[in-house]
């Protein structure tokens, strides 16, 4: 407590010295302004068009989906939809919608908005919805609060339900109808039904969101103003937290290496929950066009060469778990531990390479590879540095090629100018949403985060296709367990770590991390205590 006093008096002194400019920072009373670190400014902020965590982090507070992920049984909490039910034949899903919900401009929310969003936005425009809703034929609206989705092919309700938090952000029809949706001015000043209303955006500096007084849930939200402070620099986020300039840094904005120290700073807490439904996997993508890597033994050698324990320890500092396959262990539904494992074993890796016909040369090198770490997280780059060394230990000379995100996208996903790439792939609660893409054949070049390594496995393709139309949840789960086994057996890619993010927050915050997509949920119940 004494610390707090001295801290305040110090700020007071500084403020007095400097024309009292410091005062607003102290006005952090209950229900006041919450300042959050944001590391990027998405150029398209409409979550119905771009379903990505960077967009959701800001936009999900304004535009809500039909349902949100939940720690409760069933894994979903109703938001704009109160219930959903699939037909026996899997050709339709009926949503009951919440009544008494108002758009931020005062107009009532109805089933017409849902139908419009699904048919005009999610299906034709959305990065994830485009494939998920490819078979959506029509949305019927028998009344203002019922929407019936009709599909041309059987579509598992399990998949739709799992995808709801990600793909179902609802836009107001009356604002978007008849306009060019991607260019609508409302994309830059969002109108939704969420607990917060759009305030302003000062590019390079901040987004300001204000409390929605007419929010449908009583006594929510509990915060007056929500500010996203743009801090592209990670060290700045930690320092700003410590200096009390911001109260929350999510998505591991504070470098892992700094967490231990930060966790001991009075007034701050480190939270590791709240990201379970958006687990990232550290994945080694493999270009199967490379003659060496086409050989399974070489891929197995690469897998054996990686010391996952070291990766978890040194790179993730314990804030990650060993990945066994393409589904993270923290997924409650689909995960199976019964897969091929590749324990760290340098000798075995060397033996496999010898067997594959790549004896070590005079300098100990067997062959050379290009290694392209994705430029997205510190950890992928660090793992790139590590993998280079790990491969050197078994005689593979991997030269790192550094690209920025555009260059990486082009080199890996369009031009296939890589041998190994490192990607932070996301598991989004259901393998069909963005995981099977990573190994399915026949995906045209230019599609990011998809199988661009030229891997083809008819057995795996057939399994993926079957799961897409399998309605019985138990059967679906079994198919995906088999999927995990096939992937680990043939190694189209190598999953190294399941990695969850951390948040660092002021201990004045209540209601943190209370759902598995917390950082990208609507924060209606988040509270700031004095």
């Amino acid at each position: 407590m004494s610390f707090l006093i001295s801290r305040r008096s110090l700020i007071g002194v500084a403020a007095g010295l400097l024309a009292s400019t410091a005062l607003p920072r102290l006005a952090l009373a209950a229900g006041g302004r919450l300042v959050v670190a944001s590391d990027s400014e998405p150029r398209q902020l409409n979550p119905a068009i771009v379903a990505s965590n960077g967009v959701f982090f800001v936009a999900s507070k304004i535009v809500e989906p039909l349902a949100e992920a939940s720690y409760e049984a069933g894994g979903l909490r109703p938001l704009l939809a109160t219930s959903w039910e699939g037909s026996e034949d899997g050709l339709s899903v009926t949503f009951k919608l919440r009544e008494g919900v108002l758009w931020h401009d005062g107009k009532p929310f109805t089933s017409a908005d849902v139908a419009f969003s699904a048919l005009e936005v999610w299906k034709p425009l959305q990065n994830i919805g485009r494939s998920l809703f490819a078979n959506l034929e029509d949305v019927e609206t028998p009344d203002d609060h019922t929407a019936v989705f009709r599909f041309s092919k059987p579509t598992p309700l399990q998949l739709i339900a799992n995808a709801l938090p990600v793909v179902s952000s609802v836009l107001p029809k009356h604002v978007y109808e008849g306009t060019e949706i991607a260019a609508n001015p409302a994309n830059a000043a969002l109108i939704g039904t969420g607990p917060f209303r759009w305030g302003e955006h000062k590019p390079g500096e901040y987004y300001l969101l204000r409390r929605n007084p007419d929010y449908w849930a009583p006594e929510q939200p509990k915060i007056e103003e929500l500010v996203y402070r743009v801090l592209p620099d990670r060290a700045a986020a930690a320092n700003s937290l410590e200096a009390g300039e911001i109260q929350l840094a999510a998505f591991s904005a504070v470098p892992l290496a700094d967490l231990e120290r930060v966790s001991e700073v009075p007034g701050l807490q480190v939270v590791t929950k709240g990201y379970e439904a958006l687990t990232y996997q550290l994945t080694v993508e493999i270009n199967h066009r490379n003659a060496h890597l086409k050989n399974l033994k070489v891929r197995q050698a690469v897998a054996h060469a990686v010391d996952k324990a070291f990766v978890l320890d040194a790179i993730f500092l314990g804030y990650a778990a060993e990945a066994t396959g393409p589904v993270p262990a923290n997924d409650p539904t689909f995960y199976t531990p019964e897969v091929e494992l590749y324990p760290y074993d340098v000798e075995k890796a060397k033996a496999l390479l010898d067997e594959a016909g790549y004896p070590a040369g005079a300098d100990g090198t067997r062959f050379k590879l290009r290694l392209l770490p994705a430029p997205y997280f510190n950890e992928t780059r660090q793992f790139g540095d590590y993998l280079r060394q790990a491969l050197a230990a078994v005689g593979i000379d991997a030269a790192i090629v550094a690209n920025d995100s555009a260059g990486h996208q082009k080199a890996v996903y369009t031009d296939h100018e890589f041998d190994l790439a490192i990607a932070p792939t996301v598991f989004r609660a259901d393998p069909a949403i963005s995981t099977t893409n990573l190994v399915r054949s026949g995906i045209p070049a230019g599609t990011p985060f998809s199988n661009q390594g030229g891997y083809e496995n008819p057995e795996l393709d057939a399994l993926i296709d079957e799961a897409l139309i399998t309605l019985d949840p138990a059967k679906r789960v079994d198919l995906y367990k088999r999927f995990q086994h096939l992937v680990t057996e043939d190694l189209p890619l190598i999953n190294v770590a399941d990695w969850s993010f951390t948040s660092v927050a002021s201990d004045q915050l209540r209601g943190l991390a209370n759902n598995p997509r917390w950082a990208v949920s609507n924060w209606a119940d988040l509270e700031l205590e004095a």
């Binding site: 290496a257 700094d258 120290r261 320890d313 040194a314 590590y386 050197a392 090629v401 690209n403």
Partner: protein, 273 residues
Amino acid sequence: MLREVLRRPEAWIGGGLLLALILVAACASLLAPGDPLAIVGRPLIRPFVSAELPLGTDRLGRDLLAGLIHGARASVAVGLAAAGVAILLGMTVGSAAGFAGGRIDEAVMRVVEAFQIVPGFLLALAFVSALGPSLWTVVLAIALGAWTGPARLARSRVLSLREADFVAAARVMGMRSSEIALRLVMPLALPPVLAVSATIVAGAVLTEAALSFLGLGDPNAVTWGRMIAEGRNQLRSAAYLSMIPGAALALTVVAVYLLGEAVTEVLAKRRRA
């Protein structure tokens, strides 16, 4: 000339430091054999704790001393190469423009001007981001921002020397233009350019560090800038990671400046005499 320079204390300190540095850089493979990026120990061993790893290890357990030694090589090499390219390019282009005169000179000077009005670091940033970071793109990027100074200096020297009586006399005597340029004019145009070379080298070393700091260094080589950048996230918890290479960097730049200063002073004294 050399004797005069060596009489100055700045030259002793600067030269000594640089010599030591160059020695370390040259013998990097002997002093710290193997790949400096190899993981050799537990991550984040503090300095002066382990006898094997006297300066400790970084986040991945790489030897900081080995990094420092090999970083000296890369940093000095990049600095010298960039300055070399800049001076060579500047001298060539500048004196060619000076000798050619007329339209060619005019056109070349427009290009020089173009490079001069674009902030060099901005150019380097765009250049490396666009072409991808490697030691050579970094060297070129730095040189692109630094060659105009030598070019202008060389050109103005050549322009004034070109009209000198002794050049006319040499022509009257039937000396070839190439001989006039190389034997008579260049040796006189060179010293002022060389006098600024220390500044260019020091600037190049700092620019490389700044580029690495922004994540635009060669990912396969250790440089001090990269070490600072990597240590930056642990600035609060493991400050030594960026303090040690930072100090090495500053010391190097000081050494280069000191030596440069001694040379400049001697040159200035000679001119006054």
